[in-house]
């Protein structure tokens, strides 16, 4: 019982002296912001299991498991850059929301949304470009499952960005009440970071020997 911290043992009522407190969802004090962090934790582990499966096959079968022609960068590299730029744009939008700049918020969300859509379209061409399908080999199954799960998350992120855009156009947010913007933005950044790990695993490691 001796390890009770003296500094945090309030005398009666000391901890609850009624000082002004923010009311409702504000910034990182919003429950939703914490909830999004936990979602990212569990979705992040989903992708680590997907990549675990990829490397498991790679260790079991070595090179012969990969398709004869290694993945190309013609579409995938520009697409990766587009996704990184979209994250920067969404960050810029969030910054606008915090400054109270309605124009910057709307423009940034719109830009992020459009860049995300471009990513999806290019990725569809990338899929079409592949000489294998999900049913032709274990590699194909895994390639399409990993990129497919990522695409599903991109689409979810796009829906979030779209809703934030609609709500921004309806003037729902100002410099104080904009927690949903931060919550949506952090999810979009997460989706983009995941793509970098996927891109490294699927596109770069085959060239590493």
């Amino acid at each position: 019982m001796s390890d009770i911290s003296m500094t945090h043992a309030p005398t009666s009522g000391a901890a609850v002296r009624p000082s002004p407190l923010p009311v409702g969802s504000i910034g990182h004090k919003a429950s939703g912001w914490w909830g999004m962090l936990t979602i990212i934790l569990t979705e992040g582990s989903l992708f680590s299991y997907l990549l675990f499966s990829y490397y498991y096959f790679a260790v079991q079968y070595g090179r012969e498991w990969l398709p004869s022609e290694p993945p190309k960068f013609r579409l995938s590299l520009p697409n990766t850059i587009i996704l990184i730029v979209s994250s920067v744009v969404v960050w810029w939008a969030e910054r606008g929301a915090k400054r109270g700049s309605w124009g910057q918020l709307v423009l940034g969300l719109l830009g992020g949304f459009i860049l995300g859509c471009v990513f999806v379209v290019i990725q569809l061409f990338e899929w079409k470009d592949k000489p294998f399908t999900y049913a032709s080999s274990a590699y194909g199954s895994l390639y399409f499952t990993i990129t497919g799960f990522h695409m599903a998350h991109v689409v979810a992120g796009l829906v979030i960005l779209l809703m934030l855009l609609v709500w921004s156009l309806m003037r729902y947010f100002d410099s104080e009440r904009n927690a949903p913007v931060s919550i949506g933005a952090i999810y979009w950044h997460f989706v983009d970071v995941v793509w970098l790990t996927v891109f490294f695993s699927l596109y770069i490691t085959p060239y590493l020997g």
Partner: protein, 649 residues
Amino acid sequence: MAVGTYERAPTLERADYASPVASELETIWETKPGIGGWLSTVDHKELGIRYIATAFAFLILGGIEALVMRVQLARPNLSLLTPEQYNQIFSMHGITMIFLYAQPVLTGFSAYLFPLLLGTRDLAFPRLNAFSYWAYLAAGLFMYASFLVAAAPNDGWFNYAPYSLKTYNPGPNMDFYALGMILLGISTTAGAINFLVTVLRTRAPGMSINRLPILTWGTTTTSVGILLSMPAVTLACFMLWADRQFGTHFFDATARGQPLLWQHLFWIFAHPWVYIIVLPAMGIVSDALPIFCRRPLVGYTVVVLGTIATMVMGFGVWLHHMFATGIPFIALSFFSGASFVITIPSAVAVFAWVATIWTGRPVITTAFLFFAGFISMFVIGGVSGVMTASVAADRQLTDTYFVVAHIHYVLIGINLFPVIGGLFVWFPKMTGRMLNERLGKWSFWIILCGFNLAFLPMHWTGLAGMPRRIYTYQDGMGWNTVNLVTSIGAFFLALGILLVLINIFLSVRNGAVAGPNPWDGPTLEWVTPSPPPPYNFAVIPAVASRHPLWEDRLREGMGHSSVHRGLVLDDGKEMLATTVLDAEPDAILKMPEDSYSPLVVAVVMTAGFAGLLLHWWVFSGICAWLMFMGLLVWLWPEPKLGQSARWDR
């Protein structure tokens, strides 16, 4: 808009449950009567009790399946069940007990107790809590619907490939498993998110992390475990379903797939799961046993650290389920070593409980008996676990009844005993009535004897070489008597459980009136009347020690907790948010009203999964769209909740 309009200094008042503040809070927080209120309520107490009741219903179903199996195995060469029926029943028994009873019942306890233990008014996301419950119920019904078409999952709760693949298992059995598990996983994940944010953000002021009740430590730790492990089985089930429906090749060895990948993904999930269905139950014991020993728990800090260490190490031992699969020696050594080491934090907890009893003045109530029984059974289960952690011994014992004995000692010992004990402790809080002690003690002794009669002999059955999962056996193998004893024990165990249920049934109306604190407990839930009002606390209590109600006799710290004088927060549904480590007031949270959207989203989601099962792709697409619309209604920023700039105060 000026920042100042978003702030408010809440008033500090003295208020009890008869004050005008309390009756005002009652009208703000109460659920509307009638079926509408029942379907739309977000009250954590109502949902917690519903969770526990539903889990007990599944316990009964799983128990009936167990008894049917024990009748089949009572004598050699019986043919009560066909091999296929036996496969379905033993699979559903495992799925039911592990996924539909053991974890949800602990979620129920946590959903009920968390806000009360933490000194707040609800969980962080009340609507998400309702969604978790409905999705859990729907997932359970989804999996049990398989019996209606005589196609229940038939590959065990672990569902190994390649037997689960379409080639060997063409019926819809495994689709029920794969889709049902994904559905259940969504419910479990939502629950874990809720507990985590609740414990991080909504504790009473002064409840710094070194003053958290151990039950909340257990659930918090397992919630992190769920978030990290659940995706593995969700992914595995998705891969299995894709293999079966769309011809992918994840587990198909004939096309460069790997059946063993299933086992890896499954056990990366399922070994942590063992701790997920155990640590909150250990938390129940750590919090409730000291009440009956009339002293604080010995070694709070080491028990907490042991809880966390167990969960962390739980992620590093999954391969010990796969010792016999031909994996490399270096992996065997590492995972065998890790499996030995993980006994240490559990042993620390056992020593803490024994020391608490030893140095306390135990009051022998039914709850105390169940907790003491738990400690003994946990030790037996733990020791047989140590035996199987040795690769050499495991090669001999794997896939025999020895392992069946071990898993039942561990799961019934560490889950069922604490749960029934916990029920005796908190039933008075939930209903305002005491359970019958005399009947309770009878049920304890019958359960303890029946349990040991059923499962202790299984160790010998296993050592004598009887494989698990077989539907019958031949005469003259030396297994006859032990199997008969096991079957008789199983019926004794069932009788004991039945007595507990009868006790609940009788006491809920006619039990002695409990009063707010019948056991003289030290933690915040015992401040409230029994049952607690919808708002839990008239004022937000301020905490100065681990045992707010025992401070007068323990002299723990400098200050005194203040449970009847605190912040009022009565401007609509409101809760206090506090900082993560020190629990200092941080913000006033606006809480949502009762809502149908959790129910609607859960039902539509389940319908969509049923569509996937039946290959009604368009129907599933419509459900996905409806679910999206439901989520949109749910998540639309509400001015009333302070989520948008158009704030009408």
